[in-house]
């Protein structure tokens, strides 16, 4: 088995995550799909690190985790605030700003 299979897997997971962002309506699930995309990216980084034989890829993956953690905090805070006001976490309900 070649290492590129990991890359294909990462691309597939990334795509599924992207599709999830388009299809799911619950803001939290949408956000989880974004996390899935980031995870897919990390897999690609780790695999490339292995291919190139340097640790830069792993470092980046590590940073991505830190950044994602911070992003999750902020994102969930925003979603909770909206939920308090609207009693709904559906992204389709937040539709006042348009045209």
């Amino acid at each position: 088995m070649g290492v590129q299979n990991y890359l294909y897997l990462s691309a597939i997971l990334f795509t599924i995550g992207a599709a999830g962002v388009l299809l799911r309506r619950n803001a939290i699930v949408v956000f989880m799909c974004v996390e899935l995309m980031l995870n897919a990216t990390n897999l690609a980084f780790v695999t490339f690190a292995r291919i190139h034989g340097n640790l830069d890829g792993q470092i980046i993956a590590f940073f991505v985790m830190v950044v994602a953690a911070a992003e999750v905090v902020v994102g969930l805070a925003i979603i909770v605030t909206i939920f308090r006001t609207r009693r709904s976490t559906s992204v389709d309900d937040a539709n006042l700003l348009k045209y």
Partner: protein, 539 residues
């Protein structure tokens, strides 16, 4: 200051991990002098957080505003010192172990961002237009709008003074973004500038539902675009084995075999950059977020984020992808044309002033891209000048928006602006100047900036794009002039909004906007020279 502590603290665990490895890790060398603007801003932000914790509530607003202004001014002084000092001229290159490049464009962009942020902070700190201790922001963002809890917080004189450290963190990210010499730093900087903005968008005092909706939209789409950006970085890393811009450029020029990976990476990184810059087809968030966010925050975003995003775009494109010019130029042609047309055409039918300005900012992103297309130092100079000129005009325009009010807050529907010139000729006149500048009428900064980017693009061989750009300017100009006519030559409605008298802060911001717009229109040469001197990237 804090940075030194972080570094020394950071090296301790590394040492404890393995005694053998500890001595072999060389102490990292960080050029604090050259990077001082960054550290001043971050330091002020951290101090701001401490102020939140320890200062009494009554004093917080004043302390935070003072600290923020001081931080921005200090950082600007640092930029000027770095740019002028002979000692540091030698150090103008790749610093901080190769993570950051401090060169002409970096310093020019950092200076621009700091100036614009200073003006935007004046708007953020305005408290007379929306009377109350919290200004235009919610007294307490965690309370449900309209709930007893919110009323209680308002009564108690609560104020969300965290706005200021958040702004400073965003500014710090913006300073770093165009200076990043590797894609990881670029990504981290992108997040550092974005996260505070997501938060700031949701803090409006009035129309909080819209504000929160804006925050959520901006956040979800921003995170989505970050993911693309990151996957692009992954592909570029996979191609080049490094994320240093220069090494990517080297790998691209010595390409052997297939460079499909490289091109896909370029494409995905572009998605992330164009999203922040607000270019079509990644512009969809702009109108909604600009409309929903508190106007002062919108002004800050519209001016500073755009500068930072285009700065990073320029650096990554010129330095890392410079050798791929022939591959990415057709794409950028398309994006620029689409962006200009979408921005100009849709702005025609807008009824809301903030939304109209948002579409105008999209159109301007397109005009700036025309300058990027030139892909030479003349184009770079034009873009640098454009960003500065546009930033001041746009902050000024939003400052006017904050002043036109009715009992429900800002009156942003265009029909409410009819006859504004009769009621308040000065404010309407200032707005007219900004609109004329957006339209690119001579004697305003808009004319010179358009001239600079268009002529660079013409010399760079992008004449079809320039033709479209001129057409788009005409369409947009038609709309701007219509707004001017509406303000000056139609009867004001009886129950129309009034122009509230702002405090000195907004007045200064507005005056600065007008002055810079006019001065850059009449004597742009000094700034053009400055941008010209700065316009060369260090690889």
């Amino acid at each position: 200051m804090t940075v030194a502590a972080v570094v020394s603290a950071a090296s301790v665990p590394a040492a404890s991990v393995s005694a053998a490895a500890a001595d072999s890790i060389p102490a990292p060398h960080i050029e604090y002098g050259v990077l001082s603007p960054l550290f001043v801003v971050f330091g002020a932000a951290v101090l701001g957080v401490l102020v939140e914790a320890f200062a009494p509530r009554a004093a917080r607003w004043a302390v935070q505003v003072g600290l923020t202004v001081l931080g921005l001014v200090g950082a600007f002084v640092a930029v000027v010192l770095v740019a002028s000092s002979d000692d540091w001229k030698g150090a103008r290159a790749v610093v901080a172990e190769g993570a950051v490049t401090v060169d002409g464009p970096t310093l020019f962009l950092q200076g621009t961002i700091l100036l614009l942020a200073f003006v935007a902070v004046l708007l953020l700190a305005e408290r007379r237009l929306d009377p109350g201790p919290s200004g235009a922001f919610a007294a307490q963002a965690s309370t449900v709008p309209g709930s007893p809890g919110e009323r209680e917080a308002t009564r108690a004189g609560a104020a969300q003074t965290e706005v200021f450290p958040l702004t400073l963190f965003a500014v710090g990210g913006m300073l770093l973004f165009p200076a990043a010499n590797d894609l990881l730093v670029a990504f981290v900087a992108l997040e550092v500038l974005s996260l505070p903005l997501y938060l700031l968008c949701g803090l409006a005092r009035r129309r909080r539902l819209l504000s929160q909706e804006a925050a959520m939209k901006y956040f979800l789409l921003g995170a989505f675009s970050s993911a693309f950006f990151l996957y692009g970085i992954a592909l570029l890393y996979g191609y080049a084995g490094s994320i240093r811009l220069s090494e990517i450029a080297d790998a691209a020029t010595q390409a052997q075999g297939s460079d499909v990976l490289l091109l896909s990476g370029v494409g995905l990184v572009t998605v992330g950059l164009l999203f922040k810059a607000g270019a079509a087809p990644f512009h969809a968030w702009t109108p909604d977020v600009y409309q929903g966010a508190p106007t002062a925050v919108t002004a800050f975003m519209a001016a500073c984020t755009k500068v930072a995003a285009f700065g990073a775009l320029l650096r990554i494109y010129y330095v890392a992808f410079g050798g791929l010019k022939w591959e990415w130029r057709p794409l950028m042609w398309g994006v620029a044309i689409l962006t200009m047309l979408v921005g100009a055409v849709i702005s025609l039918t807008q009824q809301d002033v903030k939304r109209m300005l948002a579409y105008s900012s999209i159109a301007h992103a397109g005009f700036v891209l025309v300058g990027v297309l030139a892909a030479d130092d003349a184009g770079l100079r034009g873009v640098l000048f454009y960003l500065l000129a546009y930033g001041f005009a746009t902050i000024g325009a939003f400052a006017v928006v904050t002043m036109v009010r009715d009992p429900a807050g800002e009156a942003t529907h265009l029909s409410q602006w009819a006859g504004l010139g009769r009621r308040s000729p000065l404010v309407a006149g200032a707005f007219a100047i900004f609109l004329l500048s957006f339209a690119g009428i001579p004697l305003t900064s808009g004319f010179m900036s358009k001239y600079a980017v268009f002529s660079a693009a013409l010399d760079g061989g992008a004449s079809p794009v320039v033709v479209v750009a001129v057409l788009a300017s005409v369409v947009a100009a038609f709309f701007y002039v219509r707004v001017i006519v509406l303000m000056f030559f139609s009867e004001p409605a009886a129950d129309g909004p009034t122009v509230a008298v702002p405090s000195i802060l907004t007045t200064v911001a507005l005056a600065l906007g007008v002055t810079v717009t006019l001065v850059l229109g009449v004597i742009p040469q000094p700034v053009l020279d400055l941008a010209g001197d700065a316009a060369a990237f260090v690889r």
